[in-house]
């Protein structure tokens, strides 16, 4: 049996680690684009928006992540979903969600949401005890709902500007502000310090939970890269403001601008409306972006090799298809 083969298991483990990091970021890019892009200087053909100055680079990363998901993360996740009974999957999902609540509590307090912080402490202890180490989410039924807080949101609340949109290899969509946010969140998650098998399950769980969203993007998106970027940035705003008032205030004038564009018909005289609602970046963001430039130069180099890998994966896919036929 293969399962008894240690070497095989180690290989799978290595693959899963890759997936894991990547889970939640991938989506599918239509193949026809993939085929063309190697031959085209994409930075020239793509309009860069202010929020996404590294679109060319980001698109390459997006494509790489997409391939990684197609060939590694999704197949393994599908097996996990297929072989695991529904109630176990829910339990596993609850367990990791409960561990994340520690980070939620920290960020509640750092954002000055003390009432919510107290509730989330109650939530964590309720689920950790009555809920059998978090496997059952009893707290939600007792009126202590799950909150979504992380350090990226905390930085936003503290006034740190968002900075440019980034797609990182394996990790997926984020922003300049989201990078330190992500590092803190990983450090504040006990799963990070638990042994490998638990981390693997955690990864599988993350990817399995993302399945619905990824399928939706696949079905709905005309341009999956743009779809993912806009949905990610808009949802971030929603989370930062906890869906209260401000999010609407941000969105509505934008819609009015859109409507006005068409109504008045003199759209050519208007300034470009950034669909994400992000106005011209402040000087602060410029500084952040300059600092980032160095990092991006290094990443660009990495990207060349990733592109080659993506090419190889494409070939592999063709071979697989051929074999199937």
């Amino acid at each position: 049996m293969l399962i008894g083969n240690r070497f095989f298991a180690a290989k799978i483990a290595a693959l899963v680690i890759i997936i894991f990091l990547f889970a939640g970021c991938a989506s599918t890019e239509p193949r026809e684009i993939v085929v063309d892009e190697h031959s085209l200087p994409e930075t020239e053909q793509i309009q860069t928006s202010e929020v996404d100055p590294y679109e060319g680079f980001n698109r390459s990363m997006f494509r790489f992540n997409d391939h990684l998901d197609d060939y590694v993360a999704k197949p393994i996740s599908d097996v996990y979903v297929w072989m695991t009974p529904g109630f176990v999957k829910i339990g596993v999902s609850n367990f990791f969600s409960n561990l994340k609540d520690i980070n939620v509590v920290l960020n509640d307090h750092m954002q000055g949401k003390f009432q919510q912080g107290v509730e989330d402490v109650g939530r964590f202890f309720t689920n950790s005890t009555l809920g059998f180490f978090g496997f059952i989410d009893v707290a939600s039924d007792l009126g202590l709902p799950k909150h979504e807080e992380d350090f990226g949101q905390t930085l936003a609340v503290w006034g740190v500007p968002q900075g440019a949109y980034l797609v990182l290899p394996v990790i997926g969509p984020t922003t300049v502000r989201g990078v330190p946010g992500g590092v803190f969140d990983v450090a504040a998650n006990p799963t990070t310090y638990i042994g490998m098998p638990v981390q693997l399950v955690s990864m599988l769980n993350t990817r399995a939970n993302a399945e619905g969203a990824l399928k939706f993007i696949d079905e709905a998106a005309i341009d999956p890269y743009v779809f993912t970027r806009e949905a990610y940035l808009q949802n971030q705003k929603h989370l930062i403001t906890d869906g209260q008032g401000k999010a609407n205030v941000d969105v509505l004038p934008l819609e009015d601008d859109l409507l006005n564009d068409v109504d008045t018909g003199d759209s050519k005289n208007k300034n470009t409306v950034d669909p994400t609602g992000n106005k011209s970046p402040s000087a602060q963001i410029d500084v952040a972006n300059q600092n980032l430039d160095n990092a991006v130069t290094a990443l660009d180099k990495a990207n060349t090799s990733l592109e080659q890998t993506a090419g190889k994966l494409d070939k592999l896919k063709k071979k697989r298809r051929f074999k199937r036929r």
Binding site: P30, Q45, I46, Q47, P145, K146, F216, E219, A220, A221, I222, D223, V226, F227, R229, E230, A231, Q234, N235, K237, H238, L239, T241, G243, A247, N248, V251, L252, P253, L254, E255, D256, L258, L259, N260, D261, V262, G265, S267, K268, K270, V273, P275, T276, G277
Partner: protein
């Protein structure tokens, strides 16, 4: 005496009733409410209806409640004016089909979902936003905000914002990106492909 009072009341009733039915096209809230009810009704019979059946029912419900021609114009932004009349008509047609297909695909079964009205908010330039919650059993509620604009014959949905993600802004980014990168024909081809995928599932 009673007869007279009665007939007066009756008259009053009739007058009031007719004046209501003339003056009162549906309010913005009612348009959303009706649409959500129709959506739930289609979901409840989702399996028996099949994709085609759901599409046909929603075709009426969506066109009645959404201003699809206007949405189609907004999603391509400034480039709308650079399209020929024929291209504009094509875009409007396939965009409407895509919107209805997406509804027919995504709302195919009923598992106890319900919509709750939260509040109504006036925006600038005569717009209204209807805030609602979609409740899905065992899942977190999804906020559905409907942005409404008044047309000649009543209120219409112009945008849906789900948990802070604006459908209009999302589509606009996508469509303008594809248009400027790949051109009109590719955009239409991509939309058509999506419609076919929805129908095939």
């Amino acid at each position: 005496m009673f007869k007279k009072i009665f007939s007066n009341l009756l008259l009053l009733f009739c007058v009031t009733f007719t004046s209501i039915s003339i003056a009162d096209e549906l309010s913005a809230r009612q348009v959303v409410d009706d649409f959500q009810n129709e959506l739930l009704a289609v979901m409840k019979q989702g399996k028996e209806l099949g994709f085609k059946g759901r599409y046909d029912k929603l075709d009426i419900a969506v066109r009645k409640s959404h201003d699809l021609p206007k949405i189609a114009r907004i999603v391509v932004g400034k480039q709308w004016e650079e399209l020929s009349a024929e291209q504009q008509a094509t875009l409007e047609k396939v965009f409407s089909q895509l919107s209805i297909s997406a509804y027919a695909h995504n709302f195919k079964e009923f598992t106890g979902e319900s919509f709750t009205f939260i509040s109504e908010e006036e925006t600038g330039r005569g717009g209204v936003v209807i805030h609602t919650n979609l409740h899905i059993p065992n899942e977190k509620d999804v906020k559905f905000d409907y942005m409404m604009k008044k047309k000649d014959d009543g209120w219409r949905i112009i945008n849906i914002i789900a948990d802070g993600v604006s459908d209009l802004a999302l589509k606009r980014s996508e469509y303008t990106s594809v248009l400027s990168k790949d051109g009109f024909d590719v955009l239409i081809a991509k939309i058509t492909e999506k419609i076919n995928n929805y129908a095939a599932q």
